[in-house]
Symmetry: C2
Subunit: 281 residues, 2 copies
């Protein structure tokens, strides 16, 4: 029996936006996440779109700044916004913004001092997914997306678990962390010096190795201030070599902010809704 | 010549969201505001919708959490988000959240220590409006809306300046501050003990006294946790007595948050766009 504590609850676009806290077995601390249930969920179980956030974010950023709820209500799908790392007393941290709290990278850490709590891959893929299925009016049609570090999370989690996720997209994802300063430092800390252990968490490598059973939508701002760290060219190359069906869009003038994410949020929700509801019309 | 410093600029829904700082003559300190220009503003001057924020807010809250930009881009109107008070070194403040910084109440203070900087009525009506006309690609078709304390600001500013504002709406406004704990404390501090000086800043009183040249849209959540302070019944009574054309909507289940505001943002932008563009279709 999962005990969920409600931290806040607000009606929004006819549905309900709730923030929950729960004791996480995977991470060994209390974790926070947010769920949006569209009005349609009062009548029937609805598909679920996962949104994984980027560095320094919590469950709150996309919930308040992404504008996803309107689109979810329009299409009748639920949203879940997990946190980006364990946090709180006893959780290891680093003084930099891109390691430790707020920077879980959606991996299972194997190294001290991180391995005790930083099990974000298992948290999302196993624990929180089970909680969603058990406690929320959602069916088993799940899609996944995310922004930046969360785009990396969405891509790697979906590519490794095609049976769990039917649809996949990303906003300005970190595509090739094994070759980027947004990745090498963190993987060395969380996963150790043996770089062969890093391959499971590199989206470009996973696309090349595994492919994906459907097309993938990726949006990227041409004026993204972090584009050299995101390395979209690596994902392009993997997609080209694999002949992976994909829609890769580069948008003139857009940067890395939620002003970019919110601009294209409607397209992503529609993308997932069509695939999750089995309706291509 | 107005000097505007750009603090941030992000492409959003094909337009541009910018945050400016400038030396304010009215408030005697640097003030911050945000402007959204829709893509249509590249070709032609567009109408302008003012959004005044509530207690504790800055220019940032509605800009990041309201979702107004999509609707402004859809309709081709610009948005301006002023700050809610002067702030910074030398600006008087109070330890409570609802007086001083973040709580300007859109009045011209006449009392010490507030009168030196707290001139938000003149700041919005005269100074910032002139800046918008001089420096931005906007025409003279202006509408005004706001939330909570900002709804009070929108109503009182528009009712007193019908020649400057063509359209008017509000989200959960403070409607009757002269009879509310969200008003009496602040008006006593800013305007003094003589309550006759308060009447210029009471929306319900102004509706009864002056009316408005068009219909007014007001949205209110039925589960608003601050409804006893907002006193919507006072505005209803004034509207009924005056036979003021209005659309007053009370929405089951909605509270006072930006989840409420964002849910109805599209309706308000459309309301203003129709009136500002002279198009009732």
């Amino acid at each position: 029996m999962t005990y969920l504590q409600i931290l806040s609850q607000n009606k929004c676009y006819g549905g309900v936006q709730t923030v929950y806290s729960h004791a996480s077995a995977a991470c060994g601390v209390d974790m926070t996440f947010a769920v949006y249930l569209p009005p349609q969920a009062k009548q029937t179980k609805v598909p679920l779109l996962w949104y994984l956030s980027g560095l320094t974010c919590t469950h709150d950023n996309a919930m308040t700044k992404g504008g996803f709820q309107k689109h979810a209500a329009d299409h009748g799908i639920a949203l879940v916004f997990p946190d980006t790392s364990p946090r709180g007393e006893g959780v290891a941290d680093d003084e930099t913004y891109d390691l430790g709290v707020g920077a879980g990278y959606y991996v299972n850490a194997t190294q001290d001092p991180w391995k005790q709590h930083f099990q974000m891959y298992d948290y999302v893929v196993t624990e929180l997914r089970a909680i969603m299925q058990e406690t929320m009016p959602v069916n088993n049609q799940h899609g996944i997306t995310g922004h930046s570090m969360g785009g990396h999370g969405a891509l790697t989690i979906a590519l490794r678990n095609p049976e769990l996720f039917k649809s996949l997209s990303a906003f300005a994802p970190i595509t090739n962390p094994t070759q980027s300063d947004w990745g090498r430092k963190q993987f060395r800390a969380y996963l150790g010096d043996d770089e062969s252990a890093w391959a499971d968490y590199d989206a470009s490598g996973l696309v090349a190795e595994l492919g994906w059973h459907d097309d993938i939508l990726v949006d990227q701002g041409a004026d993204d201030q972090f584009i050299d760290l995101l390395r979209p060219q690596s994902l392009y190359e993997a997609i080209a070599k694999r002949r992976q069906p994909a829609v890769m869009r580069t948008h003139e003038g857009y940067d890395h902010s939620y002003f970019f994410v919110s601009t294209f949020a409607a397209d992503h929700v529609e993308w997932h809704a069509k695939r999750l509801k089995g309706n291509c019309g």
